[in-house]
């Protein structure tokens, strides 16, 4: 299997090289692909031929560049492991650095989900279009962490970078010793000579920087792997187990001031007037500065800044969207009643000819991201240069935003990406950096650290969109024969990429029908229609994006139809499934959970499946009726990713994804009143607590060559599997999240 992949790589062209840097050497690897007929790529700048440093060896040691940001999912560690596998270094011998914003770090895997072919379609036509979209993303230099792409993006690229560096170091050793390269081996950060003598990589750096890099490398077969697939200790684990990991919020500099902010809680609304006289008189307060949509306070201590910001009296302008939650739902309902579709990405059989009399209407609420570390950014506006320290997933967009605001060339805007205390999509936005930049522009030469109060973070969250689904279906002879899903949901693409990043992309918004149209079921009459309502409040990508609500719609309705048919939800899905790896996922979870076995009294189960971000995941949720309410008892999960790179982190991410999916499905929503979110903090928006958490059993499957990610795909099946368990337990099928609106949980 792995040799096959290596063969594919060898047929591509690579430009690889090395450059001398600060007495050391940096190894680059750049996948070079310029289809002569693609005019978009003719204008490649000279900087794009520049080498991409992934491996830096100098007097300080070995540094691996890990350009996909770490929000907590362990991306630094997994990227380092992929490089280290071929470089022959141990993870405790290296440092990781996210690197600067650079086009060269564009994400090669985002294209996989941006084409009108389901991920299960690996035909020539589908892959040709993925290649074309990939070329566009390369041209745009979309250096973005998201879409569960870190491993698929780096799986070959980072191992190649490690292999090029290793072979070049061996050539450097051959030149220094006069031995033949074939006599040399590498091990644990050193080239090993036939007599056992070891030359550390650092002692070879100067020579390696002088010679031509070795480009003719082949990736090792999986049988020779030391790291991939085996338990390893994440590179950040010692720091995170001892309270010594620094996050963006911990950034400190000499002369730094602390800032707080009050923004119009009617997101995007104006400041009509304000009175800061009380705030200005408070201890430690240095300055009050009006910014876009709000007021910032500069103080000598974060708490003093918070207190002063709260003391400002403000009259806020109206919300640029409907003030009441009921109006938001009405817009969606009207859209489904009367608007033209945004897209009909699936229309199998002849839905119009079917008497599809089983109907359903389901809802998914707005939800906030609420990572535990509130939004923050430190900005220093200097002479002809700006420095930004923050945790985010879009460093190049942030660089461009700051350049626009300050008039300083993007080349001189230095974005330093710091470790994030969670994100879940929150840090795919950079409004906090824009506001911190406005404050820092008022204090040139002074580093300004802006920290959002929790309540501010919640109030300003650009939420997951609400979604309204109407379904029709039919069953016959114990089988599901027809299913139509029509869903209306505000466009993330318009809000996030269009309004805030100025990237107005044509065509339908694929997130509206994500994980609806591309599910591997052969239902004879099967239609999916997406509707894009008029703009409402600001919305953004939330862990698993459209799949997070659409899997609830799709699988809850499919379970309802299967129940009407009198079929078993696992058996009927297996009968309908067209994709072999997906079927194996479902079979695995049935086997793990002893599906069909006898259950204790008061116990009930539900199953759901979702294919998102190319990863099929099936989950069985078991609940128990107790005197205190419904308790989550056990969950079984199977997921197909092609290759489990780090089994410990894999299990942790899957368990976390299930907890995320269940917790928000049960108790989390953002609702608007008077244009403002009604929820404030972790007492009214929390997800699961420890005592509510079920036992979660995880299995990663490797039945497929193609490697896909695991950060998001465990989320979507959790809510519909729980919904089915609730139906089995109570006879009542949930039609809207959060379920705690209708059911009593422990």
């Amino acid at each position: 299997m792995t040799m096959g992949r290596a063969g594919t790589i060898a047929r591509r062209s690579f430009v690889v090289g090395s450059v001398a840097l600060l007495g050391g050497v940096a190894f680059g690897y750049y996948q070079y692909k310029r289809p002569p007929k693609n005019p978009l790529l003719d204008g490649l700048g000279e900087d794009e031929a520049a080498l991409t440093p992934y491996v830096l060896i100098n007097a300080d040691g070995i540094t691996l560049t890990t350009p996909r940001a770490d929000m907590g999912q362990g991306s630094y560690s997994v990227q380092a492991a992929l490089i280290a596998e071929e470089l022959d270094v141990a993870l405790d011998q290296i440092r990781v650095d996210p690197g600067p914003p650079s086009k060269a770090y564009y994400n090669t895997a985002l294209a996989n989900e941006a084409v009108p072919f389901p991920s299960t379609d690996q035909s020539t036509a589908a892959n040709a279009m993925r290649g074309t979209v990939d070329a566009v993303m390369k041209f745009m230099g979309l250096q973005l962490t998201g879409g569960s792409t870190t491993v698929p993006d780096g799986y070959e690229k980072l191992r190649m970078a490690g292999a090029v560096a290793r072979e070049t170091l061996k050539h450097a050793a051959a030149e220094q010793t006069g031995l033949a390269v074939t006599q040399l081996k590498t091990d644990h950060g050193a080239v090993v000579l036939p007599d056992g003598q070891r030359i550390p990589y650092q002692a070879l750096a100067a020579t390696a920087a002088r010679i031509d890099p070795v480009t003719n490398v082949t990736l090792r077969p999986s049988t020779q792997w030391r790291l991939i697939g085996k338990p390893m200790q994440r590179v950040d684990m010692v720091a995170k187990s001892t309270g010594t990991q620094a996050y963006g919020i911990d950034h400190r500099m000499d002369g730094m001031v602390h800032a707080a902010i009050r923004l119009n809680p009617r997101k995007g609304g104006d400041v009509v007037s304000f009175d800061a006289s009380a705030a200005e008189a408070m201890r430690g307060v240095q300055q009050v500065i009006e910014v876009t949509g709000g007021i910032g306070v500069i103080a000598d201590n974060t708490w003093r800044a918070f207190q002063a910001a709260d003391a400002i009296e403000v009259e806020w302008g109206p919300a640029p969207y409907p003030a009441a939650q009921s109006e938001h739902w009405q817009v969606l309902s009207d859209t489904l009643d009367a608007a033209a579709p945004d897209a009909t990405p699936r229309d199998d059989g002849d839905m119009d000819a079917v008497d599809a009399s089983i109907e359903a209407e389901y809802r998914a609420p707005y939800v906030a991201h609420a990572p535990l570390e509130p939004l923050n950014a430190t900005v220093l506006v200097g002479e002809g240069r700006v420095d930004v320290w923050t945790g985010n997933q879009i460093p190049r967009m942030t660089q461009a935003s700051v350049a626009d605001m300050t008039g300083i060339s993007a080349r001189d805007v230095h974005v330093h990406i710091l470790m994030m205390g969670g994100s879940f999509g929150h840090r795919l936005e950079d409004e906090v950096v824009k506001r911190a930049t406005e404050l820092a522009m008022a204090l040139p030469g002074t580093p300004v650290k802006l920290t959002y109060k929790r309540e501010e973070d919640t109030a300003q969250d650009y939420t997951r969109p609400i979604a309204l689904m109407r379904g029709r279906g039919a069953v016959d002879g114990g089988k599901v024969t027809a299913m139509e899903i029509r869903v209306a949901s505000p466009s993330i693409l318009d809000s996030q990429m269009g309004e805030r990043q100025g990237m107005n992309l044509p065509g339908p918004d694929s997130a509206i029908t994500q994980a609806l149209w591309d599910q591997p079921y052969a239902i004879p009459h099967y239609r999916v229609v997406g509707y894009r309502p008029p703009k409402l409040g600001p919305v953004s990508s939330w862990r698993s994006v459209g799949a997070s609500q659409n899997a609830f719609f799709h699988e809850n309705f499919l379970n309802a139809l299967i129940h009407e048919a009198g079929a078993d939800p696992v058996e009927e899905r297996l009968r309908l499934m067209t994709d072999a790896p997906s079927r194996k996922v479902l079979e695995a979870v049935a086997e793990m959970s002893d599906w069909g076995g006898s259950l204790d009294r008061n116990t009930a189960r539900g199953v759901a499946f979702s294919l998102s971000f190319g990863t099929p995941v099936a989950e069985v949720v078991q609940i128990r009726q107790t005197e205190a309410g419904i308790a989550l008892d056990k969950v079984w999960v199977a997921a197909e990713v092609g290759r489990v790179v780090d089994p410990i982190n894999f299990e942790n991410l899957v368990q976390g994804g299930v907890i995320w999916g269940l917790g928000h499905a049960i108790n989390s929503q953002i609702t608007y009143a008077d244009g403002m979110a009604e929820q404030q903090s972790f007492f009214d928006f929390e997800g699961l607590r420890n005592y509510q958490t079920p036992e979660i059993f995880v299995r990663g499957l490797e039945n497929r060559d193609r490697v896909t990610g695991i950060g998001e795909p465990p989320v979507p099946p959790a809510a519909p599997a729980l919904a089915e368990a609730l139906f089995q337990s109570t006879g009542e099928r949930p039609t809207e999240m959060p379920f705690a609106n209708t059911f009593t949980f422990v």
Binding site: Q233, S241, G243, G422, Q655, N690
Partner: protein, 153 residues
């Protein structure tokens, strides 16, 4: 001037009586271990020990501090880990890790009071500490490991 002993070091701080301990530790003394998550004792990221007992430092006024303060940095260090920290490392509990300092301080307090906690004891003691990444299964396992290790020591 208020006098505070933090991780064995005496500090004189010139702050308002009603400044929460969290912000004295972070912005006046310069310790990053206690984290700001909510400011209203709803998440536990700021948990430290005062006089050997776990408290939410975001809701503890500095003038009410009546004993020595210990933060996660004082519990143990990368070179000399406390049994709880060693268990957290062994189980690779963290994802983003932002809540884990508070989780470990809460767990250390639990194990001081109750060397052999049941699952229900762990749930009760640890449920005020929110983890948005959902590392709870590993937190439970690590608390049990730490308990075994501390009883054996």
């Amino acid at each position: 001037m208020l006098q505070l002993t933090v991780n064995g070091i005496v500090h004189q701080v010139d702050v308002e009586d009603d400044m929460p301990l969290l912000w004295v530790l972070r912005d006046e003394i310069g310790l990053n271990g206690p984290k700001y998550g909510c400011g209203v004792a709803a998440c536990g990221a700021c948990t430290v020990h005062v006089g050997g007992v776990a408290v939410r430092s975001c809701q503890t006024l500095v003038s009410d501090v009546d004993g020595p303060v210990m933060t996660i940095e004082g519990l143990g260090t990368p070179d000399e880990m406390h049994a709880v920290q060693a268990a957290w490392l062994e189980h690779q509990v963290a994802q983003c890790g932002y809540c884990q300092g508070g989780q470990m301080m809460q767990a250390a307090d639990l194990l001081t009071q109750n060397p052999d906690p049941t699952d229900a004891d762990i749930d009760e003691a640890m449920s005020g500490n929110l983890c948005r990444c959902g590392t709870y299964p590993r937190i439970r396992a690590a608390v049990k490991s730490a308990a075994r290790s501390m009883r054996g020591a």
